[in-house]
Amino acid sequence: MTYKLKEELNKKERFAQGHRLCAGCGAGVAVSAVLRALDEEDKAVVSNATSCLEVSTFIYPDTAYEDSYIHSAFENAAAMTGGVETAYRVLKKRGKIDENFKFICFGGDGGTYDIGLQSLSGAMERGHDMVYVCYDNEAYMNTGIQRSSATPRFADATTTPVGTKSYGKIQNKKDLTAIIAAHGVPYVAQTTMLGNFRDIHEKAHRAIYTEGPCFLNVLAPCPRGWRYGMDDLAEICRLAVDTCVWPLYEVVNGKWHLTYEPRTKLPVSDFLEKQGRFAHMFRPGNEWMIDEAQQYVDEKWENLKARCE
């Protein structure tokens, strides 16, 4: 099956326009790209953790989802989705339903790396046949850009503000994709929205149609929190990937594969300089910040390459 964006776009949208996400928000683009990977004949139950996405896409009485949808709290989306999936198996076994459903859960980085990590870990370990998609915008955006464990070092967030005694966030980003891969689930991947969306499409399709618990970590830039122009989503995603800040890879049955290697690895500063949250790193005297950020990315990248076959 060859991927053609045009054909994909001709499919009926499962994620309707008219939601209340900010213009240029990466989250909505990620959701519609993932849902496009569903085969048209399949039904789905989409679920959410409380987040920007949730409060902007199901505001009573309007829902942006064509499929069935459920949200209940911030930290429990994986367990809740596991409950839906379990009900599906039982009701099917008991002959009460006959259609095929897929279960796709979206949570932000806060709801996934942080408060919902236990719930996610449990659901992955138990083996529910579902896809958990983290749309990672690297902070708690819904409550006003507070740091999460996905926020990168040096970022200026509202709970790690830059000040005379502070250079922004102290800690590096948690490597959640590797943590979920360590659960031994059949499919884990990192992706984002690039060019013709082939990467996210193929990974989402594979995740949805691999039996068992699968995990996608999607870098989903937030123009408001990252402070860049709302038209620049594609460029920001491209820079994240080409600087190796956000490498694209997948872990299939425990085997790690790079799915993209930049022809020329760009300096991290190319990515950082586009965003207001890193502006202080470019002030005179703060060159060490950029150096350390570069060093960190290089190390992670080398480790990742060594791990991949």
Partner: protein, 398 residues
């Protein structure tokens, strides 16, 4: 069918007879045996339920929410810290109108940690929008469990079926069980109108409910709770027909002509009845009111039953920390407010049995004696007291 079982086994047995779709549960003393018994039924092919052995009670309730919204009959069981850990989601289950059935084996809340019985766990979440039914003994908890789904599914409200930790959950007693067939036809099939997996009808559950809609949703829940009393009576009546055992919102014991009464919940009612019975032989008109259904609150029944009683102790097995008595006391007192003064009993709050503190027949005798003195004096000296606390001079010892 006669048998002998503990309260936990009785609940697990009722679950088996019902054969629900999904159970999500996590171990915590003293409710742990329920998922254990149930897992064994599954292992032996006696039920077809999917058991989800979650990593926490938070996920147990989340599993139930997902499963119930998807159209399945979903159950769980817990106690104490486990129930507290579910707190946030109890409100979600209720507002999403999901008829989840939870077996609660009441245990003290931690602070300090204690595994024994009191009602602080379920009393703490009394305002979460769940129906709450309490049992005095094994037979009652079994009977209440069988009635749970017909009540909850009709009202589209979640329900807690509570029993006292260890006292009821672990004590083996004689019990009269219904036949499987009787239970299945009594409980019936779960056939919700709307659910996530319904063919050709997608459903969205759990919206962001902005101010112009939020209150309507809450009022809907409140109405359902108010109306649930009718359903509770209907189901009890139907249950009496197949079992010969009758239930209401409250149970009155020797209340027809009582001068003195205690109002309480759960297993201590048995002890109170024994004390009242003994005092009756000595010519003292003692009575007992056992509150079976705490949510919705049986205010009409209590007002009727307590009318004209001289002095009443309302006994809470939980500290409400209101500084003025426990929750059962506060609500009972409110229920009596519009009785005319001559019919309004002298009322006091007694907090008892916390963390498994024993109460015996002689404790109740001391309470009734105290009520007699109160009636004699015509006034309540201490409105809010504790029972059996060492060195507590205002309190009741016995």
């Amino acid at each position: 069918m006669r048998d002998r079982m503990s309260g936990n086994e009785a609940v697990a047995f009722a679950m088996k007879q019902i054969d629900p779709d999904v159970m999500g549960a996590f171990p915590i003393t003293p409710s742990t045996e329920i998922p254990q018994y149930f897992s064994k039924y599954i292992a032996d092919g006696e039920v077809h339920t999917e058991f989800v052995a979650v990593e926490s009670e938070h996920s147990a309730m989340s599993t139930c929410i997902g499963a119930s919204a998807a159209g399945a009959r979903a159950i769980t069981a817990t106690s104490s810290a486990g129930l507290a850990y579910m707190w946030e989601l109890l409100y979600v289950a209720a507002s999403s109108r999901l008829p989840i059935v939870m077996a609660v084996v009441n245990r003290a809340l931690t602070g300090p940690i204690n595994i024994n019985n009191d009602h602080s766990d379920s009393m703490g979440c009394r305002d979460s929008g769940w129906i709450q039914i309490y049992a005095e003994n094994n037979q009652e908890v079994y009977d209440n469990y069988i009635q749970a789904m017909p009540v909850a599914e009709h009202c589209r409200l979640p329900i807690m079926i509570c029993q006292d930790g260890f006292i009821t959950s672990h004590a083996v007693e004689n019990i009269e069980l219904l036949e499987d067939e009787q239970v299945r036809s009594f409980v019936g099939e779960y056939d919700p109108e709307h659910y996530l997996l319904k063919k050709d009808e997608p459903l969205a559950v759990g919206p962001y409910g902005i101010s112009p809609y939020y209150m309507e949703i809450k009022k809907g829940q409140a109405e359902a709770m108010k109306e649930s009393r009718t359903r509770i009576y209907e189901v009890a009546e139907a249950f009496a027909k197949i079992s010969g055992r009758s239930y209401g919102m409250i149970e009155e014991y020797m209340m027809d002509d009582a001068d003195f009464a205690v109002v309480l919940i759960g297993s201590s009612a048995g002890t109170a009845k024994a004390a009242a019975h003994g005092l009756r032989e000595a010519g003292i008109k003692a009575g007992v009111i056992k509150v079976r259904v705490f949510r919705p609150f049986p205010w009409e029944e209590l007002r009727k039953a307590l009318r004209g009683v001289k002095a009443v102790a309302v006994m809470d097995k939980s500290e409400g920390f209101s500084g003025w008595g426990g929750p059962l006391f506060a609500e009972t007192r409110a229920a009596l407010y519009d009785l005319e003064e001559s019919a309004r009993p002298l009322l006091q709050s007694l907090v008892y049995g916390l963390g498994g503190r024993d109460v015996t027949v002689s404790t109740f005798e001391a309470i009734y004696e105290d009520l007699a003195r109160t009636a004699e004096a015509g006034t309540v000296e201490h409105i809010y007291r504790h029972v059996g606390v060492r060195g507590d001079e205002e309190g009741i010892q016995g």
